[in-house]
């Protein structure tokens, strides 16, 4: 009976997918959603014979997943992944449906699955991942996720449904590191060591100022960004764990990537990360931890980090404008500030387009733009050639630019993506596109129509 229902659900899923593609839609979500209605245990049935690596956390899921994927491929494993970004149970189930033959047997034996923080508690028990990577926790779409401690609790519940998994935790994030207290799982720590990168002063806004155990104020030996760094609680003694996958020196940060020195289980390795900015150094360390936790050699992961392509709006390159462009998703203050700091570190002038939407998948509350440090742009002077604000809430972004100190004559508004892209085609300096999630989906399509690139589900 169960087998029968599964086969029907698989058929339904495939049918819905075929119709979606005929209609030129992604069909990344609907097949799984409908198939689960018919057979609620479908995901666990399909996932049982597959070795899965799951990634959750606020920022860095997609980039980390692409790094891990490349490492698996490097190791010669056959794998599939929810590359489209559909990371709720419906989207993840869709990927498993597409990987199954008509009797539910898997084509590829390995899966790299990124999973929404709130969806993880439904997904993990069915997925039964071998390894889980938790990247970090930052305030994110408060209207949807609520407070960070609430998200942390969701992840704890999710992991309690995966007791066999080895869990890779960011040692520098006091929130996610606290999961080790309450989990029986085997933990692998990764992090950035003191002195690897210049320590920052405490940010104006931190998502974790007070001890998650005893609520005393943390003290920091160093801060890498946001609330990440060498924290300890002077009262209860809760402190950063020494990581076994450790970034010991950020040797060079370039516009196209970073060179870092890592210590991996005691061995020193020079690692190239093929995506720029410090947050991708964290993603690389997390990916390394996850890949080695799967039992693959570190060497394989290191090769992959120097070569992987992220795509899909994560510092994704396009031949737009005379000097090229990069598109990168922004969705919360910590991630957005990191992108702004990356821009501030560039040597050359550039043009910026910010597309702010407030639809359900973006978060309907756009207040977060005031927590992101756009003041960085106000201090750049003429290196910031111009800013074009766009999206449903372009007017809010324009006000943000004004109060960030960007001179009014450098800011313009263009809500029509076609016109925006045509305008940007004439730029002679590099162009950076910073869309929120739903803006990314639309803008990326328009950019691809003009200059080429892949569809989002590819």
């Amino acid at each position: 009976m169960k087998q029968c229902k599964m086969i029907l659900a698989l058929l339904l899923g495939r049918l819905v997918r075929a119709v979606s593609r005929l209609l030129h839609r992604g069909g990344t979500d609907m097949p799984g959603r409908l198939a689960l209605k018919l057979c609620p245990e479908l995901l666990s049935l399909l996932a049982a014979p597959v070795k899965s690596l799951a990634i959750t956390g606020t920022n860095g899921k997609t980039s980390s997943a692409r790094m891990v994927e490349e490492a698996f491929r490097e190791a010669g494993l056959t794998l599939f992944a929810n590359r489209s970004g559909a990371n709720l149970i419906s989207g993840i189930t869709t990927e498993f449906i597409m990987n199954a033959d008509w009797r539910g047997r898997p084509k590829a034996k390995y899966a790299v699955i990124e999973c929404d923080e709130a969806a993880a508690k439904a997904v993990f028990p069915q997925l039964g991942p071998q390894v889980v990577l938790v990247t970090n926790l930052f305030r994110d779409q408060l209207d949807r996720y609520g407070e960070v401690t609430h998200t942390l609790e969701n992840i704890r519940i999710a992991l309690s449904g995966a007791p066999e998994a080895r869990v890779c935790l960011n040692a520098d994030c006091s929130l996610t590191a606290s999961l080790a207290d309450v989990l029986p799982n085997d933990i692998v720590w990764y992090g950035v060591e003191p002195g690897a990168t210049p320590s920052r002063s405490a940010p104006a806004i931190s998502d974790a100022t007070h001890c998650i155990r005893c609520k005393s104020e943390y003290e920091y030996d160093y801060i890498t960004y946001g609330h990440l760094g060498g924290f300890h609680c002077p009262r209860c003694g809760y402190r950063r764990q020494s990581p076994s996958i450790a970034v010991t020196d950020v040797v060079e940060q370039r516009a196209d990537g970073s060179t870092v020195l890592m210590e991996i289980d005691g061995r020193r390795e020079l690692v190239q990360v093929n995506l720029p900015a410090l947050y991708n150094v964290y993603n690389a360390a997390g990916a390394l931890a996850a890949v080695t936790a799967m039992g693959l050699p570190a060497k394989t992961a290191i090769e992959a980090l120097g070569r992987f392509q992220c795509g899909f709006g994560r510092m994704e390159r396009f031949a737009l404008g005379h000097a090229g462009s990069r598109m990168t998703l922004v969705k919360n203050p910590a991630g957005c500030t990191q992108v702004l700091e990356f821009l501030a570190g560039l040597k050359e002038p550039f043009t910026l387009a910010v597309c702010l939407n407030d639809r359900a998948a973006d978060g309907t509350d756009v207040s977060w733009i005031w927590d992101a440090d756009f003041e960085i742009l106000g201090r750049l002077g003429s290196r910031l050639r111009r800013v074009i604000v766009s999206g449903d809430r372009a007017a809010d972004m324009r006000v943000r630019m004004k109060y960030a100190g960007v001179p009014g004559e450098r800011v313009s508004e263009q809500r029509d993506y076609e016109a925006l892209v045509r305008e940007l085609e004439n730029e002679d300096v590099p162009v950076f596109l910073m869309p929120t999630y739903t803006a990314l989906l639309e803008l990326r399509q328009v950019v691809i129509r003009h200059v080429g690139g892949a569809d989002f589900w590819e």
Partner: protein, 241 residues
């Protein structure tokens, strides 16, 4: 001329872009050639409110509420009450607003005593009042029309010793039932509107600046600014909500 802006508990009450209110005041003063000094008063800091011309308290997470209450009851509650009675203008948002009332009672009946500076209380509900909303300030509060975003489960009930900040035009406001939004007492203004409140509502931002200048220098007249961007953002949301 110069105004001293005190930002109370910026370390824990900083949710939902509330810092944008401080940025707005600071810029709007400097554009007029008036100096703005921002004093951060985090938990544990002994800085008193003496010398404050304008005070801001934002919203926060439940997680740090206990730490906050302990700090308040170490004497800062008295300072806040004294400053309020002394006519210092306050802007308080969401959690910072609720904190000035008598208490917060959770929906399952647990009561948490707040500082009781103003005559109101808040009772938790199981539904969240969330979304874009708009309201019209009373004449006493400047009479401007405000657009904002609210996200709270507490329902606030005002006593007879205070006035509402305004009347809800769309959305929930204090409790989703009596049409009131926020609180107004002397120069204290409390609201559920983050978003943040001030950048898109420049008339209200200036109303508080004007009160602070009048209190300090006897003249609250402000030179007009070019608010085209702010008003465009305001009007667009006002039409949409």
């Amino acid at each position: 001329m110069e105004l001293n802006i005190f930002h109370l508990y910026p370390d824990v009450l900083n949710l939902y872009g509330d810092g944008g209110n401080i940025i707005t005041w600071t810029r709007r003063l400097r554009w007029r050639g008036i100096e703005a000094k921002v004093h951060r008063a985090p938990i544990g800091a002994s800085a008193s409110l003496a010398g404050a011309d304008l005070v801001f308290i934002g919203g926060g997470q439940d997680f740090e509420q206990q730490v906050l209450l302990e700090d308040l009851h170490r004497g800062r509650d008295r300072e806040i009450r004294a400053a309020i009675e002394d006519g210092v203008p306050f802007l308080t948002i969401c959690g910072g607003y609720q904190m000035l009332g008598a208490y917060y009672e959770t929906f399952d009946g647990q009561r948490c005593d707040f500082i009781g500076a103003l005559d109101f209380y808040t009772v938790g509900s199981q539904t969240r009042m969330i979304g874009n909303y708009k309201f019209r300030c009373t004449e006493a509060a400047g009479g401007s029309e405000i657009v904002g975003f609210e996200n709270h489960s507490g329902k606030t009930r005002l006593g007879s010793g205070v006035q509402p900040l305004g009347r809800v035009l769309a959305g929930f406001g204090n409790n989703g039932e009596d049409g009131s939004e926020g609180v107004h007492y002397k120069n204290v203004f409390g609201s559920y509107s983050h978003g943040p409140l001030l950048p898109k509502n420049p008339a209200f931002a200036d109303h508080l600046l004007s009160l602070a200048l009048a209190r300090k220098y006897g003249d609250g007249t402000l030179a007009p600014l070019d608010d085209r961007e702010e008003l465009a953002a305001h009007d667009e949301m006002f039409r949409k909500i």
